[in-house]
């Protein structure tokens, strides 16, 4: 799908690259033993290293390195067995040492790729340039006091992965799909919780426009966008802004901008002239980071099944359509739930129920799969009752609602409420006869050729049997009599 911005002088193409900052899931920070957990009273997760006290030194956290390697493997990227840490120097009150330890020239992960899927079912590969490890800064709070700012260093030193894409993205939709896919992979890997509201995943968006076939024009970087929807909006409005500048005879300045969702516009944060000179140089407190191939192999061997592979397997193994498989693998927990339900049962029936009534119920009750009122085993138990003919599909819907409400098992509900399907042909025949007796006119019409009335008779019989008649047997009995 092409996304073109119609300008006065013709169409413009969009060029976007994303830099995603993903907070690493780990017990402790990248270079100190302080807790990396979210929340906590301000300045309670701070070691002397994090606060930049004199003489304090960083020591690399092995688990953070493992998480970066796992992520690199998940992105099918090159793992660099030797990488380095550099200092990125700038002054800010929530940056205790006056420099951020990052990886500038030698990142731990090199080129990789992510396959994204678009609404029309098409797929595209988006290149990954690199992934590197770096420290997060603390948090400045300017709204607590009229004259003073407050600093919380809980986050200072927490490990981040900066994941940089190639400028391969051409539409806002692709940017959204890329972020959703990346987040899915990170969550599957357990290397980042992908929670954009809490700031554990944030995106810097590089946007430029050009005429078809041109080389890249000047780009602007929109900093720290914290939702996928905002990323897509920011790209749209920034592209329009740039087109207007070019067409007005001006030129776009390379600068850092902020997205204001309330006004749906981007604003200049600092121009190139004011840009920091970060004075990168190798951190002399840290040796080059050297990892063993065998260790990488071991991490690779213990990697969980990733969404693309799982989606393919669901189609192959369970015979469900690609769309359904895609929905089910969107989250690891959903996929696990589905597999529990489907195990030893009809996988398509399981998929229909999970995607249909089950998802609808979660939506309706505002629950998530983690605190679902119906467990996978309970849902499976209900499907068993359908399959063995104890209840029919219509009754099953009532039973499902009852399960949602009471938390009882399907079997208990069926017993308690006497919902067992009637397969006694004598009882069915009697009900059929009663319906025919009550509706002589309809019977006459049917017999004179109005075939469509068959459905009417089925409905009446089922109604008379309080929905418990076995539909196949009811059909059979009616056909015989009619």
């Amino acid at each position: 799908m092409t996304y073109l911005i119609e300008g006065r002088d013709g169409p413009w193409e969009l060029v976007v690259g994303l830099e995603v900052h993903a907070q690493v899931i780990s017990q402790s920070k990248l270079f100190s033993g302080a807790s990396a957990s979210y929340g906590g009273e301000p300045n309670t997760h701070v070691s002397l290293v994090d606060a930049g006290f004199p003489g304090m030194l960083p020591v690399i956290n092995r688990e953070c390195v493992a998480q970066a390697v796992r992520t690199g493997l998940g992105l099918k990227a090159r793992v660099n067995l030797e990488s380095r840490f550099d200092r990125k120097n700038y002054f800010y009150a929530d940056l205790p040492t006056g420099y951020q330890i990052s990886q500038f020239t030698h990142p731990i992960i090199g080129e990789g790729a992510i396959e994204i899927e678009l609404a029309d079912g098409s797929t595209r590969m988006i290149g990954i340039t690199r992934l590197h490890l770096e420290q997060d800064a603390g948090k400045s709070m300017h709204d607590q006091d009229p004259a003073r700012s407050f600093i919380d260093l809980n986050r200072a030193g927490v490990a981040l992965m900066e994941i940089v894409s190639e400028p391969d993205i051409r539409t806002p939709e692709e940017a959204g799909a890329y972020l959703r896919k990346l987040r899915m992979i990170l969550r599957y890997l357990g290397t980042c919780d992908g929670n954009m509201e809490e700031g554990s995943m944030r995106a810097d968006v590089n946007v430029s426009v050009r005429k078809a076939g041109e080389p890249f024009r000047t780009r602007c970087e929109i900093k720290n966008v914290n939702s996928i929807r905002y990323v897509m909006q920011a790209i749209e409005v920034e592209a329009v802004r740039q087109v207007e500048i070019w067409e007005g005879g001006g030129s776009v300045d390379q600068e850092t901008r902020l997205f204001d969702p309330a006004r749906s516009e981007t604003r200049s944060l600092r121009s190139k002239e004011d840009a920091h000179d970060y004075r990168y140089f190798p951190d002399p407190d840290l040796l080059p980071l050297v990892i063993e191939e065998a260790w990488v192999q071991d991490l690779a061997a213990h990697l969980p099944e990733l969404p693309d592979a799982k989606c393919q397997r669901f189609q192959d193994e369970y015979g469900i359509p690609r769309y359904d498989a895609g929905v089910l693998v969107a989250e690891q927990a959903t996929a696990d739930f589905y597999e529990t339900v489907a195990r030893g049962r009809d996988p398509r029936l399981a998929a229909n129920w999970v995607i249909g009534d089950f998802f609808a119920a979660l939506n309706r009750t505002g629950r998530t799969i983690q605190d679902s009122p119906i467990s996978a085993d309970a849902l499976g138990g209900m499907l068993d009752l359908i399959t063995d003919g104890t209840i029919n599909g219509k009754i099953a819907k009532d039973v499902f609602e009852e399960m949602l409400e009471s938390g009882e098992s399907a079997a208990e509900i069926v017993e308690r409420k006497g919902l067992r399907q009637v397969t006694d042909t004598g009882a069915i025949d009697a009900a059929v006869q009663a319906v025919l007796d009550k509706n002589p006119d309809k019977l006459a019409e049917y017999r004179s050729g109005k075939d469509k009335l068959f459905g009417f008779f089925v409905g009446q019989v089922m109604k008379a049997m309080a929905g418990k008649g076995n539909p196949a047997l009811v059909n059979e009995a009616l056909k015989k009599v009619l």
């Binding site: 002397l48 606060a51 930049g52 006290f53 004199p54 003489g55 304090m56 030194l57 960083p58 020591v59 690399i60 200092r87 120097n89 002054f91 800010y92 009150a93 205790p96 040492t97 006056g98 420099y99 700012s149 600093i151 000179d277 004075r279 990168y280 140089f281 002399p284 407190d285 840290l286 040796l287």
Partner: protein, 495 residues
């Protein structure tokens, strides 16, 4: 018996034989500090009470007999760059004037674990940046030595570990810790007539020592004999998981190495150290040292270290670059001095203008400049490449020789006020010490004799990485041959 005249080795025996108590030993040094520190200004902070308390505890341990930790009851001075738990640590800077760390550096913790008693925190050039101990925010240190026939002229003790050198020379402490980035242990040791070793980079942990230039900083001992340095380094050295650049290899018996025979040892004499304009007396001291080592059974070999001439220029790019980044943390936000400002930038500017002295500001400026966009490749990157060549120089030389012998400094101690209007003249004091720092190899200064003006001159022994033993062996031989028994004019027993 003058307790302040003892070596550490002798005091260890005396304490164990109960010839005197630790309280007496520490008390004698505390008294000497009381009498002389007002003049010498060797200590920024004197911790007499804590020292005497520690001495009494040491006596209790000594009274128990048995296997007493090596340094039990030995009074030491600690350069005020090592963070000491609960004791003010200033780096000789207004910036940290009232900074009391809640932690103990690894090196001083090692010394404390071995029973050492700290009598105070010694003066230094601000943040260890200087070669004359004249940049301290707490005033200059006076060298206890005097030119022959000139009791008036105040001489510098060298720097940056000038307070440690002066304290040890004047018998205010039996030994002291120093740190050496480009010569900060060796040059003041030479100027004050004592011994001092910069061990191999990575031998002593840097954890808890205030950083100047991280890739060069290395702690080491200063004492009046080579053996005393060996005893102290034994305790200070060792792998530390909290310092990623510290190296996990065993610490050998340094004291034993001091007595080792030099038969067959190959000693390299680097041609490039014969710099133009070197004073004849320095040249003579060097020749004398060569002769002593030859007499001790060494084979003397001429070697070449062709990149030596770039050492100083390279050092003055790498060290300021690292310092400009290391000192960014002194911003008035979390600890140390804060000068209020109307905005964050104004707070930074006011705090750093008031907190840092002129030399520190000069180096931060130089370092910021050489790391700047557009200059990085021409300066910092090139300096790192040259540094590798300097390292290679030493590796090549050590293919054929076991140690190198050079002068420690191009002159004896100079007077306060000399060389002070031109920073480059000042930087030249480090011309012989900087190359070993750039290469990370161990190097030691040992007193070899007196200049014509009656001031001590040091010789420098440089060894292979992690071969401090050969350095101690050669330095001991020089020490024995020199028989250096001269003492400074200002010292504990002189009233």
């Amino acid at each position: 018996m003058m307790l302040t005249e003892l070596t550490i080795a002798a005091a260890q025996g005396g304490l164990r034989r109960r010839e005197f108590s630790a309280e007496e030993l520490v008390g004698a040094h505390v008294a000497a500090i009381d009498r002389l520190n007002g003049r010498l200004n060797a200590f920024i902070t004197v911790t007499s009470e804590q020292a005497l308390d520690a001495a009494r505890r040491a006596d209790a341990i000594l009274a128990g007999g048995g296997d007493v930790p090596a340094l039990t009851g030995i009074p030491l001075g600690i350069k005020d760059l090592f963070c000491t738990d609960g004791v003010r640590t200033t780096a000789a800077s207004r910036m940290l004037e009232d900074f009391v760390p809640p932690y103990e550096s690894t090196v001083t913790a090692n010394l404390l674990a071995d029973g050492a008693v700290f009598v105070g925190k010694t003066n230094l050039d601000e943040f260890a940046m200087g070669s004359a101990n004249i940049t301290s925010a707490f005033g200059s240190v006076e060298n206890p030595w005097k030119r022959a026939g000139d009791a008036e002229t105040v001489l510098v003790p060298g720097g940056s570990s000038g307070g440690s050198a002066a304290a040890v020379a004047a018998r205010l402490a039996m030994g002291a810790t120093g740190t050496d980035t480009g010569g900060s242990i060796r040059q003041p040791a030479s100027y004050c007539g004592i011994a001092g070793i910069k061990p191999t980079y990575g031998r002593c942990s840097r954890w808890g020592t205030i950083a100047f230039a991280s890739s060069l900083d290395q702690a080491g001992p200063m004492a009046r004999t080579v053996e005393d340095c060996a005893i102290l380094l034994q305790s200070m050295a060792g792998f530390d998981t909290r310092d990623s650049t510290s190296v996990d290899i065993a610490v050998p018996d340094y004291r034993a190495a001091c007595g080792r025979s030099l038969k067959g040892m190959k000693v390299g004499i680097p041609a490039e150290y014969r710099v133009a304009g070197m004073p004849a007396e320095i040249e003579a001291a060097w020749e004398q040292g060569i002769a002593w080592l030859r007499d001790a059974g060494c084979e003397i070999v001429e070697v070449s270290l062709p990149y030596t001439k770039y050492g100083l220029a390279t050092y003055y790019i790498v060290a300021p670059a690292e310092c400009s980044s290391n000192l960014a943390r002194y911003d008035g936000v979390r600890f140390g001095r804060r000068v209020p400002g109307a905005s964050l930038d104004e707070l930074y500017e006011a705090t750093r203008r008031e907190g840092f002295g002129a030399e520190v500001r000069r180096r931060i400026l130089m370092g910021t400049y050489v790391l700047s966009a557009g200059y990085y490749d021409a300066y910092y990157l090139r300096a790192q490449k040259v540094r590798n060549l300097i390292r290679k120089d030493f590796e090549n030389a050590f293919q054929t020789v076991d140690v190198l012998l050079t002068p420690t400094a191009p002159s004896p101690a100079f007077a306060q006020g000399e060389k002070m209007d031109d920073p480059v003249q000042m930087y030249l004091n480090d011309v012989f010490t900087v190359p070993a720092s750039m290469a990370g190899v161990p190097a030691m200064s040992v007193p070899a004799g007196l200049s014509q003006s009656g001031l001590p001159l040091g010789l420098q022994v440089i060894g292979r990485s992690f071969d401090e033993e050969s350095v101690f062996a050669a330095a001991s031989a020089l020490e024995r041959a020199a028989g250096f028994t001269h003492r400074p004019a200002v010292r504990a027993e002189v009233v």
